[in-house]
Amino acid sequence: MTPEKWTTGSRSSSWVYEALAVFAKDWLLELRTRVAIGAVVLFAVTSVVAAGFALAPPSGVAAEVKAALLWVVLFFAAVAGLSRAFVVEEETRTADALRLTVSPTGVLVGKLAFNTVLMWALCAMTVPLYMLLLEAPARHTTLLLTIVLVGSFALACATTAVGAIVAKASTRGALFGVLSFPVALPPLLVCIHGTKAAWLSDNAWQAAMGDLQVLVGFILVIVPASLLVFEHIWSE
C-alpha cells in the first residue's frame, strides 16, 4: 500500500480544520455539561446584582466608577470560566488524545475561538443587565458595543495561553486569577478608558479611537506570542 493510501482521508490537515474541529467539539461538550457557562453567568449576574444593591441609587455614582466596575465584573467572570477550556482536558485525561490528533496551533486557535465566544456570550448577558441596574448612560451604544466586542476578544487572547499554562501546572482555579491578571491588565485598563469615553465624552469616537487602536495592537502582539510559546506549554 502506498503512503497516500495509508494516510488517506486526511486532506491536508491544516490548522484551520483542526481549530474548527476543536472549537465544535468544545462547544458540543460545553452545551452538554454547561460547566463553564454556568460558572461565568452565575458570577456575572451575582456581582452585577450585588453592585446594583450596594450602589443604589445609581445616579449618585460617577460614570468612571461604573465603567471600571463593569470591566472588573467582566474580568473576574472571565477568570471564573476561561481556564475551563484547558483544565477540562487535563482533568478528564483527554489531553493526550488531543495531543496525538491535533497540532499545537490547531489546539490554541480552537481554544481561543471557544474562549472568545464564551466571553461574547458573557458580555451579551452581563452588559445589558449592568447598564439597566446601574443606570449607565445609554450613549454611543455602537461605540460601546465595539469596545465590548474587541475588548473581550483581547481579554480572551490574553488569557487563553495563560490558561494552558495553569492547566499544566495544577487544576486548581486560584492560580489562573493570579497569573492572568498581569497579562490581562493592559486591555482591561484600555477598555475602562474607552467605556468611560463612550459614556461621558461628546466626541466619544475620537476619544476612544486611541483605545481601540491599542486593543488591536495588543491582540496583534499577544496572539503571535501565544502561538510561539504554546508549543512549549503543550508538549511535554
Binding site: M1, T2, P3, K5, W6, T7, T8, G9, S10, R11, S12, S13, S14, Y17, E18, L20, A21, V22, A24, K25, L28, L29, R32, T33, T92, R93, T94, D96, A97, R99, L100, T101, V102, S103, G106, S235, E236
Partner: protein, 206 residues
C-alpha cells in the same frame, strides 16, 4: 517503500530521576513487536515517547519513510495509539467522539461511514449513547476505533487486552495481525496472553 522507527539511546528523566536509559532499537514495517516488562518499568513512558507525547531527555526517536525523516506534524498523522490513561470524551456519544477524531485529522468522512466502522466493533447500536454509559470493554473498543480511523501505518497499543473478555481479545489479535501485514504494531504488555502478538523487541526492567 518502508516505514521505520529508530530509537537511538533514548532516555527519560523526571526530576533528575531516570525512568528509561539507553534504549535503542529499530523496527521496519511490516510487522508486530512487543515491549515487555513488569509494572513500573517504563513501558508506558516508552510508548508515549514513541508516540511523540513526551520528549526524550536523552537520545532521539526518529521516524523514517524511505530513509527520509518525518516532521512532528507527519508523525502525528501516521500514528494511532490506545492507552489506559488516554481517555475519550465521556459526555459525548460514540459517534461524536469518532467524528471529532476523524474531522480533526482533516478527514471528510460522512456519518454513515463512521457508523460502518462502529458496526465493525459491534458498537453501532450504542452509537448515540454517551461514552460515560459504556462498559470498560466498550470504551476500549471505541478507543481502538478512534486510533484506527485514519488508518495509521504505526499503531501503538499499551496493555490493550486489559479489561477485555475473550471476544475482545480476539478483536485485538485480529487488529494486530491486520496491522502487521502492512504497517507497524507495537504492543506494550506484561500479560502472558499478549506476549505472542509480536516479536519481542525490548525488555525493560530488571
Amino acid at each position: 517503500m518502508s516505514w521505520q522507527i529508530e530509537l537511538r539511546q533514548v532516555g527519560k528523566c523526571f526530576n533528575d530521576r531516570p525512568v528509561l536509559r539507553g534504549v535503542s532499537a529499530t523496527v521496519t514495517a511490516p510487522g508486530a513487536w512487543t515491549i515487555l516488562g513488569p509494572n513500573g518499568s517504563g513501558k508506558s513512558t516508552l510508548l508515549k515517547l514513541i508516540a511523540g507525547l513526551l520528549t526524550p531527555s536523552e537520545g532521539e526517536i526518529v521516524y523514517l519513510y524511505n530513509g527520509a525523516r518525518l516532521t512532528a506534524q507527519r508523525r502525528r498523522q501516521v500514528v494511532g495509539m490506545v492507552a489506559p490513561d488516554i481517555a475519550l470524551y465521556r459526555p459525548l456519544t460514540a459517534l461524536e467522539n469518532l467524528r471529532f477524531f476523524a474531522r480533526a485529522r482533516g478527514m471528510a468522512v460522512q456519518d454513515n461511514e463512521l457508523m460502518r466502522l462502529l458496526q465493525q466493533v459491534d458498537l453501532r447500536a450504542r452509537a448515540h449513547d454517551p461514552v460515560s454509559t459504556f462498559s470498560t470493554g466498550m470504551v476500549q473498543r471505541l478507543k481502538l476505533l478512534t486510533a484506527l480511523v485514519h488508518r495509521p501505518p504505526v499503531l501503538l497499543l499499551d496493555e490493550p487486552g486489559s479489561n477485555l473478555d475473550e471476544v475482545g481479545r480476539c478483536l485485538i489479535r485480529e487488529i494486530v495481525e491486520e496491522q502487521a501485514k502492512h504497517g507497524i504494531a507495537l504492543i506494550a504488555t506484561n500479560d502472558t496472553r499478549e506476549m505472542d502478538y509480536g516479536k519481542p523487541l525490548i525488555q525493560l526492567g530488571i
